[in-house]
């Protein structure tokens, strides 16, 4: 017994004392950038393809020498959706002298806004919460904020409503800062004259059964449900609605419900979860989708293939999301280099702010140009509406921009 104990003790101690490995590849000038995100834990279904997008594109930049002789060094670290770990990672990244930072969750972006400002480091989060921009100067949103997305969808509802009277709308939100982001802005847009009737705002829990909620919607005459949450609850709701025969076959079908959703409340993965219940689901994002062929999507599929990703990853809009944020960072670096400036936080920040007008950046992976300026730190301002038909999301109409969001600002 004594011996066993001693062995166990030694094994434990040696593990604790083992020094951290650090693997560093040194070659010419390297620009370190970093990403901290949730590869495990909550929202890992989003984080996992996102991190692969970042990783692959970083490799691609180095392999194709997009930055000339200079190299991009990319630190990716899992934080398990915990703000503390994110902050610790960030402090660590600062020691690595990173020039550009990619963040992930709404919670950590909101919590670390001040740190970004103090460190003067340009930051692109995966959270499109408009609140990220309040009281901060160095946070940029890659695409339109959740508010723009939700208000944009509401506008679409108002413009395309078929029946008589105001369209009755319900919001289905995630119970967190992330989910509640568009709530007040939708209300403001209605106050500013948006012609919809907001009947109910539901923050969902971990419900197994949404029958009651759906029946309530029906009895109140709700015809449209706009979701701002993650995919699993939407899938549960859609499955419930399908079994109740409530999903509208065509847009705005009377007596039925048309379901719409923002960026994280949809995508090919939702079809994976909800199966045929996702049929006729309307979804908006600023990213190009793999199911809509074009130069951007070809490039993405080629990239995924090149680095051995499976189809599910290649098709995910969050893989695109990850690629796009690195594209923006690399573009800023290239611009700084062409102008003969040293690539530093300050020069990258300047270049980010100069991305507008003729200097807007067209990354191919989005439906519109990325534009940033001192007053507008939302990247792609246009949104694309997609609709699920036969298990695939198809483009519907042309990219559009929300008008009321500008009005309520």
């Amino acid at each position: 017994m004594k011996n066993k104990q001693v062995t166990f003790m030694l094994v434990g101690l040696s593990f604790l004392l083992m020094l951290g490995f650090s693997a560093q590849a040194l070659a010419g000038e390297t620009y370190p950038i970093a990403l901290s995100l949730a590869i495990t834990g909550p929202t890992s279904d989003v984080g996992s393809p996102y991190s692969k997008g970042v990783e692959d594109y970083c490799k691609y930049v180095n392999d194709e020498k997009l930055l000339g002789d200079d190299k991009l060094e990319c630190f990716i670290r899992d934080d398990g959706y915990k703000t503390e770990v994110t902050k610790r990672n960030f402090e660590d990244f600062l020691d690595e002298k990173i020039v550009f930072y990619l963040n992930y969750s709404t919670g950590s972006t909101m919590a670390m806004r001040k740190d970004f400002d103090e460190e003067k480091i340009p930051t692109l989060p995966a959270s499109f919460h408009a609140g990220n921009l309040v009281d901060s100067t160095y946070v940029f949103l890659p695409i339109s904020s959740y508010s723009s997305q939700a208000v944009g969808l509401a506008e679409y509802v108002a413009a395309n409503h078929k029946g008589s009277g105001k369209p009755k709308v319900a919001l289905f939100l995630h119970p967190s800062a992330f989910g509640r982001a568009p709530r007040d802005d939708v209300k403001k847009a209605i106050a500013a004259g948006l012609n919809i009737d907001l009947v109910e705002i539901v923050e969902h829990g971990k419900d197994l059964d949404n029958t009651a909620m759906l029946q309530r919607f029906k009895s109140k005459g709700v015809q449209y449900v706009i979701s701002q949450t993650v995919q699993p609850p939407v899938a549960t709701m859609l499955k419930g609605a399908q079994s109740l025969g409530m999903i509208a076959k065509t847009y705005g079908e009377a007596g039925k419900i048309t379901f719409l959703g923002c960026h994280y409340a949809g995508g090919p993965d939702l079809i994976g979860l909800a199966g045929s219940a996702a049929e006729n689901y309307y979804w908006t994002t600023s990213y190009k989708l793999m199911t809509a062929p074009g130069p951007g999507t070809d490039a993405q599929l080629a990239l995924a293939k090149r680095y051995g990703r499976d189809e599910k990853v290649a098709q995910s809009q969050n893989y695109t999301n990850g690629i796009m944020v690195v594209q923006v960072a690399v573009e800023a670096m290239r611009r700084a280099k062409t102008k003969g400036k040293k690539v530093t936080r300050a020069s990258l920040y300047e270049e980010m702010l100069a991305m507008n007008g003729y200097n807007a950046f067209y990354p191919l992976t989005t439906v519109g140009p990325v534009t940033f300026s001192k007053t507008d730190r939302e990247g792609v301002d246009t949104l694309q509406l997609y609709v699920a038909k036969d298990g695939v999301f198809h483009e519907l109409g042309l990219p559009f921009a929300s008008e009321y969001v500008k009005k309520i600002k």
Binding site: G80, E91, D95, G107, A111
Partner: protein, 364 residues
């Protein structure tokens, strides 16, 4: 006192007083003082990166919280899986002030030692209230009652507009004699503050356990009916244990809020409660030194695993999922292995090592 106060080769106590001494020998005291000095001096000598300073600060805060949990679970035998919620109570006490008065109000930035104490007090009051079910509930049913508190706390924060529905509420930078604590000094400054708190509270716990107020906890743990027969009120003692534990947690929460410069509900979830419990167990339940070893071991392990996972992921990109799976896997394995092979925790290794040196060159 006839015996040699420098060396003790055996148990030669002639009075209860002697047995209750904090330091059994002067050597113990000397070593301890040197170690303490070392703790205070080393950051001045070595340059430490912010990340590691942050990690060290976090460990120290966890030690404060685990003091409380150890008193509750280790000494009084009341298992709590709601400890993170108590820590949250402390942090949200500060957040309440920040919401009402603004994050940079003088009360928060200049009178922070007072605020830390106040947070501890609020923690104690809430602790006593949450401890009330322990008058009737026992064992697993009590465990679940603390779980309920955890859930109710999370829900309250997450859905109340006052607390910004769980979003981070900022707390301003504090001032001290030399003016505002800047970003560069931040982790450094809080290292000393938290270290001081750890030392002071550590002595407090040690002294508590020497008094009847500490011994009554152990009596109730071992058998509450027998304790009752000896004139200790078991119900009152349990509530008192919860209040004590709430105080430590509250202090830890306030320190957490200041160190992270904000309070967000994500830092006080069930997952953290489980982490605290793991720290207490790995360290050694019912021992004071365990409260130090547990947090160090668990948080260092987390860090090392992260490094290894990254290292593995760097070279075997194809099995990236294996690298991410590493963290929960190792956390779980450490807990399970400890419970299976060393249920008394690292504190027991400490005891073995100490005995070895004390008896050296003899084996027993």
């Amino acid at each position: 006192m006839a015996e040699n106060r420098w060396l003790a080769t055996g148990n030669f106590f002639t009075s209860y007083r002697a047995e209750q001494r904090i330091f059994l020998t002067n050597i113990d005291r000397l070593v301890f003082t040197c170690f303490l000095l070392l703790l205070f001096v080393w950051p001045l000598v070595f340059e430490v990166s912010n990340k590691y300073m942050l990690v060290i600060d976090t460990i120290l805060i966890a030690i404060v919280a685990v003091y409380g949990l150890n008193l509750l679970t280790g000494f009084a035998g009341l298992i709590s899986i709601g400890h993170a919620a108590f820590v949250g109570v402390g942090a949200y006490t500060l957040a309440t002030f920040a919401r009402i008065l603004g994050s940079d109000h003088v009360l928060l930035t200049h009178y922070w030692p007072l605020m830390i104490l106040l947070a501890g007090g609020v923690g104690a009051v809430i602790g006593a209230i949450v401890g009330l079910p322990s008058l009737r509930l026992k064992h697993l049913y009590l465990v679940i009652a603390t779980l309920s508190f955890q859930m109710i706390f999370q829900w309250t924060i997450n859905f109340s507009r006052f607390y910004d529905q769980g979003q981070t509420i900022a707390i301003g930078r504090v001032f001290w004699f030399a003016g505002k604590v800047t970003r560069k000094q931040h982790y450094f400054f809080w290292y000393y503050v938290i270290l001081l708190v750890v030392v002071v509270l550590g002595f407090a716990v040690r002294n508590l356990l020497r008094s009847k107020h500490g011994r009554c906890l152990v009596a109730v743990r071992d058998n509450d009916r027998a304790a009752d027969a000896m004139g200790i009120h078991p119900g009152f003692t349990k509530v008192y244990a919860f209040a004590l534990s709430g105080f430590f947690a509250g202090v830890a929460g306030a320190l957490h809020a200041y160190l992270w410069r904000g309070v967000g509900f994500e830092s006080f979830t069930l997952h953290h409660s489980i982490s605290y419990l793991a720290m207490a167990i790995v360290g050694g339940l019912g021992t004071l030194v365990g409260s130090f070893f547990g947090p160090v071991a668990i948080l260092m392990l987390e860090l090392q695993v992260e490094n290894i996972a990254e290292f593995v992921g760097h070279y075997f990109t194809a099995i990236g999922d294996v690298a991410t799976a590493f963290r929960p896997l190792s956390f779980g394995l450490v807990i399970v292995l400890f419970l299976m092979f060393e249920p008394r925790g690292i504190a027991n290794w400490w005891r073995i090592t100490r005995t070895y040196f004390k008896l050296w060159p003899f084996r027993y």
